[in-house]
């Protein structure tokens, strides 16, 4: 490696940018799937280094953002129960449901606790058996195995005051939905690093094989992201799309088999609603019948209904990479991180929030 890879990191990124302009001809459209990539790309100013022939759009890789309005409302409906504690990752607190948020409900007296690990949600239930604890389980393959692990713990312990509102989603089917959408029209995916740690590479093979889409798993440093862009540009140039990994420090080709076994034990795949993408077949992880007593939907009769998104919010188009956030009329006007209208402005990984923050700090180069 030493022979070809310069020691100076700035020189490396410079060379990568140069190689990219050689390769990206004709122009290509690449989607970075992962919200952490979106933020990383902004923070490191990578957009300013990209040749104009590469258009980089953000995808559905922020779990809070793709949670459907009906799912948010289902979570909110639990907050009004007297005997119930809600345990949630912080990102969900300020997401606007129809008429309210978890943060507002908390200020009105609802027992909403912010946790950083599924293990803490379980501890809440173990430490006070007089209250029901509902864990709002959002997230992709990276996060779902932790939920599966604590459901197994609760089952072994015979806990009867712990439940999960299970909103976990699977990334590969969503990429399939985008790949087959003619409006989206992608040449390549930068695949998410930490989702791929769990899934491995084989699950994405249908993307090059069926749709001719170039794929590379990217790490999160500037160099890793640029390398992945070079790799997909090169696949397109050679007309040999495949699934490459540029993040072999963390991603094994077979993924994390132990984690997938735990997930298989607890979850079964079913159709799930995604904001902007509609219902995608086999894209949601649902608790198996055997674990129905930990399922808030079964136990408490919460229903996930079809509910329209906030008026004027274009999160759906943002999540499909059809528009950049500033094209939404509400962006920066009635919709800001302090007063978000849609989930893409709430989560720090949401595209709208990332554009807003980094535009303010002058990190954006406007191409049009």
């Amino acid at each position: 490696m030493q022979a070809h890879r310069p020691g100076d990191p700035r020189k490396r990124v410079e060379l990568l940018s140069k190689a990219l302009s050689e390769l990206a001809d004709p122009p290509i459209k690449v989607m970075e799937v992962c919200g952490t990539h979106t933020v990383s790309i902004f923070r490191q100013g990578l957009r300013t280094l990209l040749p104009a022939k590469i258009s980089l759009v953000s995808g559905p890789g922020c779990p809070v953002c793709v949670t459907s309005q009906g799912e948010i409302d289902a979570a909110l409906s639990l907050a009004s129960r007297e005997d119930t504690t809600i345990a949630t990752y912080g990102d969900m607190l300020r997401v606007p449901g129809t008429g309210t948020t978890l943060a507002e409900e908390r200020s009105r007296g609802a027992d909403v606790r912010v946790i950083t690990s599924a293990d803490e949600a379980l501890s809440l239930a173990m430490n006070d058996r007089t209250r029901s604890v509902v864990f709002l389980a959002v997230g992709f393959e990276t996060t779902a195995p932790a939920t599966a692990s604590v459901v197994l713990d609760a089952w072994r312990e015979g806990l009867d005051n712990f439940m999960v509102l299970d909103l976990h989603k699977s990334v590969p089917p969503a990429l399939g939905a985008l790949a087959s959408d003619p409006d989206v029209n992608l040449d390549a995916f930068l695949l998410p690093g930490h989702v791929s740690v769990i899934t491995g590479l084989a699950t994405y093979r249908f993307l090059p094989e069926r749709f001719g889409i170039a794929c590379a798993v990217a790490g999160f440093e500037a160099e890793g992201i640029m390398m992945a862009l070079v790799e997909v540009a090169r696949q397109i140039r050679m007309k040999r799309p495949r699934v490459a990994s540029l993040y072999s420090r963390a991603v094994r080709p077979q993924g994390n088999v132990a984690a997938r076994n735990v997930m298989d034990r607890v979850f079964t795949l079913g159709d799930a609603p995604w904001r902007g993408l509609g219902v995608i077949p086999s894209s949601g992880f649902f608790l198996r019948k055997e674990f129905a007593r930990f399922d808030a939907v079964e136990r408490l009769g919460v229903a996930v209904k079809e509910t329209p998104p906030p008026v004027g919010c274009r999160c759906g188009e943002v999540l499909k990479g059809l528009i950049d956030p500033p094209f939404c009329d509400l962006f920066g006007r009635s919709c800001t991180p302090a007063h978000p209208v849609g989930p893409c402005m709430v989560s720090t990984e949401g595209s709208c929030a990332a554009y807003y923050r980094f535009q303010k700090r002058g990190y954006l180069d406007w191409k049009d």
């Binding site: 919200g35 996060t143 072999s248 994390n256």
Partner: protein, 75 residues
């Protein structure tokens, strides 16, 4: 939300827990998802759970790619 942070395992605590260091910060993590974890391992931790062991170096693919990048981008 899928962010995972490298941690160094400093002590195992029972069958599915360990103490780990992220920079100077010591935290307890769950180790259910990474079998045969050992003291000294670098692991990626997401939402309180170790999700994979980290290798010290990238392998294979990158080297070949750099060779091509050098050719494309000139000296």
């Amino acid at each position: 939300m899928c962010l995972a942070i490298p941690h160094r395992v400093i002590a195992l605590k029972g069958p599915n827990r360990a103490l780990a260091l992220a920079g100077p910060v010591e935290v307890e993590i769950r180790t259910d998802l990474v079998p045969h974890i050992k003291e000294g391992d670098m692991v990626l931790v997401h939402a309180g759970f170790a999700i994979e062991r980290l290798l010290e170096e990238e392998t294979g693919e990158l080297e070949k790619l750099w060779e091509e990048i050098r050719e494309l981008a000139g000296p």
